[in-house]
Homo-oligomer: 203 residues x 2
DNA sequence: CCTAACATGTAAACTGTTACATGATTCC
DNA sequence: GGAATCATGTAACAGTTTACATGTTAGG
């Protein structure tokens, strides 16, 4: 259309852009769809917020990696996207690209445990139980809503990878539950005869 | 000194500020010390960058939660901090404060696995192995450098919590290694007779 | 002499969240 | 008629990283 169609060889896309690209390739069509899909699955290892999606879709389109068109539902405006061959190639290249894969956790609960020295024993116990409950709740969510969807991808589309990613997430939270059990036993005077049961030294 | 010493009842401190406060309380003295300590331990569940530390130390001091003074080593300038009673109280209040404890993971490796459908089977296998190797390396780091330090805190200062936090981190990475083993077996035609071994359908 | 470690600081850029605005449609 | 959901967008803010600047000291 314009005369400045030259792709300006942009900087590498941020990871959330590839999440969007991947979700579109898996059949999601609108920005809204993508957000729903991420909240249902990828959120457990890479959350993205709604406000990131629309600007990134625009950018993906500018770079020719997706093609969007208006497809309203009734009077309700709606824009749907398709991954272009260039987009698929960009996604594949990113997936294959080796290099550092930082495993980033940001968990204030563990920070609080780390410094729990400052708390009363009762508070610490409660905190460990909260951590346990949190992972159990996450597991329940995964079992109820995500597992069936992942199974569908495995069975219908012969794509086992969402299920495997979900499996990793569940494994992680099961490990936390196991850890919490051990920690709890240790805190509730679990050292039968071994340790001379620490007083509330608090200092 | 000035006439506007009134504390302006600031917004709640961001989590990294409490990490710094906690580290100072554990005996770290300078910003540099804090950074070293975080990189050695807390980084596995809550990393903070050097550029965050000095402005936050300044802010903590403004709010009366720490007290700093210059304590050069030779000609090399150096500012050391101590947690004030108000600071200890603020930390304790934050530790006890209930409420949402989001467990945030941002892991591009799992994102790549999730979308691995686009890759050749050989690439996927390699990727799972890389994830396994990553966790094994992290475990090795933890065993070599952090575990002894955590044990020291447990034995010398009767503070078992850093060790327990480290333990949680190790548990997590051990779970990933276990998951990777299973995933690898599944990918290398592991379905002996069970599954009719999926071809490289690639699409 | 040179490198690594000690030590502090900040500007600019980037990333991400919160909160709001806007409006249509579906379901009760 | 009202709430929930569908659907898109953005401005303002908060948080984070990268990169650099600056200088000292210890060790090979």
């Amino acid at each position: 259309v314009a005369d400045d169609e030259v792709i300006p060889a942009r900087a590498e896309l941020p990871p959330p852009a590839y999440v969007i690209l991947g979700m579109l390739r898996m059949g999601m069509r609108s920005g809204y769809d993508v957000k729903q899909a991420v909240d249902l699955s990828a959120r457990f290892f890479f959350a993205i917020s709604q406000a990131q999606i629309y600007p990134l879709l625009k950018r993906l389109e500018e770079e020719g990696l997706v093609e969007g068109r208006s497809e309203p539902r009734g009077q309700r405006r709606r824009r749907v996207y398709e991954v272009t061959p260039a987009g698929e190639e960009a996604l594949r290249a990113w997936l294959r690209q080796p290099g550092a894969l930082p495993f980033e956790i940001r968990d204030v609960a563990t920070v609080k445990l780390f410094f729990a020295d400052l708390l009363e024993p009762g508070d610490v116990l409660e905190h460990v139980r909260a951590m346990r409950a949190r992972s159990e709740q996450t597991l329940e969510e995964m079992r109820v809503t995500i597992r069936p969807a992942a199974a569908l991808y495995a069975d219908e589309f012969d794509n086992p990878f969402p299920q495997q990613a979900l499996d990793l997430g569940m494994t992680l939270h099961e490990a936390i539950v196991g850890w919490a059990d051990r920690a709890e036993r240790q805190l509730t005077g679990g050292g039968e005869g071994q340790e001379p049961e620490r007083d509330a030294d608090t200092q």
